[in-house]
Symmetry: C2
Subunit: 301 residues, 2 copies
């Protein structure tokens, strides 16, 4: 049942033109699990250090996220420091301390073997594959990746791609991975590598979904306030997978709906620093924004 | 009746990663009028030189475009040479010969006084205002502009903005004109300058429409073939204004429909160099792509 995420838990220090935050809870598994928790039961598999306090664990537990898979290792938690310039499209990394994340070996608690929806956050593709193989009966397996693995570990990534159903990556990464500038052509090339479903994240411009032969394109929600893009992609993935896990419906129509829920969750994430907005949501906020999203995009001919 | 466009007629020489073309018929008024001609009667006001041949005029006449407002002046027609790099988002201008366009003084034939829908292509804002004032009874007046006028002629542009209903500009230009990075904030700032309707062209990412308090965002059609972006913006404007002139309906719902028709026409324009694809269309091609566009963007929650 439910959805499981394997990825990073981190402390982020972020500066954007709209403010800054020091050592706030972040990481791919964190954004994903908080977002997905609005839709379905969530299990998180990650590693943290000795500086990870009970109050941090309580952030997950306040959303009823199963933290049995959060391993505490000797040393410090992964830390990232970055800043965004005016256009907010790309982070400039000022400092990365991998710390305990460097030796991360995901351990799946036996209680998690029944997981139906699995999200492999952006970690070494060999680790992604290792986790994926421990859940052979999963209904749907999605993975993220990044430029670094595309360039540095292409063979391992190719193996992982053969073993997942959905790849969720940025537009630039899709072009790099496929060697194609045209998005439709890039999608076909990536689908031929394994994942029959490809989600291309286009930042402030929205998301494109290629589901076998079906293509869906949705703009992003237009926000009045946009303070911090950190975690938007993983928040999207959390809403997307959370909705699928809730509905257990892999039809084209429902995959499109999942893109909308993911987009809506990401739109909340970027309104404030870190998890602040995601943790203050209500179910009504989400439904209300889904309806605003419909209003923003609807037309009839 | 119908729609009138004032703008440039040019000979373009274009190189993209997908090929090149020499001295092909282009210009804002050309792309606009050919696109709009699929929807409504079109009148074009422009200037050409002695090198403009009957076969060029026949391109307009083959689409039943009224060319009474095309003035032939001593000298050569406006010429532009540019190239696009791999990402196709921005043209690099290699050469501009304004030629007869430099002294362009739009002259509206008396027969055009009944025009209901007017598009002021990207020319000096003082000329735009001059034309606009000659059609005081127009139902809807739209204008394009560009960075050059925003920087060089801000006072003239401010006067023109007060006298038009719709501004149709690129996203970068909207941000520059408003001094705002956030699109919703930029839109409000521009609406306060005059035009209650703002269309923001986002290139391969689509279009956003701000119609008084209403906001609509549509992605671009996802093309397999994308050869030459030249004229895409004016082609969009032609489909947008053409649909409005055909339907004479300025409701929110119909403005959104106009964005879809504009986007569909632009998607054809970029599939081949110059006007080639736009001139080879059939009404069935257009309706078929409208339905593909619906299929690409539709979701229900």
């Amino acid at each position: 049942m439910g959805v499981m995420v394997v990825g990073s838990v981190a402390f982020d220090s972020i500066r954007t033109p709209y403010g800054e935050a020091e050592d706030i809870l972040g990481g791919s598994a964190t954004y994903f699990s908080v977002a997905a928790s609005w839709f379905a039961p969530v299990r998180v598999v990650a590693v943290v250090g000795e500086d990870f306090e009970d109050r941090h664990l309580q952030v997950f537990q306040s959303r009823a996220i199963d933290t049995a898979g959060i391993e505490r290792a000797p040393g410090r938690t992964f830390r990232w420091r970055g800043e965004y310039s005016q256009d907010m499209n790309e982070a400039r990394t000022l400092e990365t301390q991998l710390n305990v994340f460097e030796q991360f070996q995901p351990k799946i608690p036996p209680s998690h073997a029944s997981t139906e929806f699995l999200f492999l956050g952006n970690i070494h593709p060999a680790l992604q594959l290792h986790v994926r193989r421990q859940l052979p009966g999963a209904t749907l397996v999605a993975a993220d990746s990044m430029n670094f693995w595309i360039v540095k570990t292409p063979r391992e990534l190719a193996q992982t791609l053969k073993a997942v159903d959905v790849l969720i990556i940025n537009e630039g990464e899709a072009k790099m991975l496929s060697g194609r500038q045209n998005l439709r052509q890039a999608a076909r090339a990536i689908q031929a590598m394994g994942p029959r479903k490809l989600v291309v994240k286009r930042g402030e411009y929205g998301v494109a979904l290629f589901n076998d032969g079906d293509a869906f394109s949705a703009p992003a929600f237009l926000l009045d306030e946009f303070k911090d893009p950190t975690g938007a992609g993983d928040t999207f993935a959390g809403g997307f997978m959370g909705h699928l896990a809730r509905s257990k419906d892999l039809s084209d129509a429902n995959m499109r709906r999942a893109v909308v829920y993911g987009s809506v969750m990401a739109s909340f994430a970027v309104e404030d620093f870190g998890l602040r907005r995601l943790l203050a949501l209500t179910a009504e906020d989400i439904e209300s924004r889904v309806h605003q999203f419909i209003r923003l995009t609807h037309f009839d001919v």
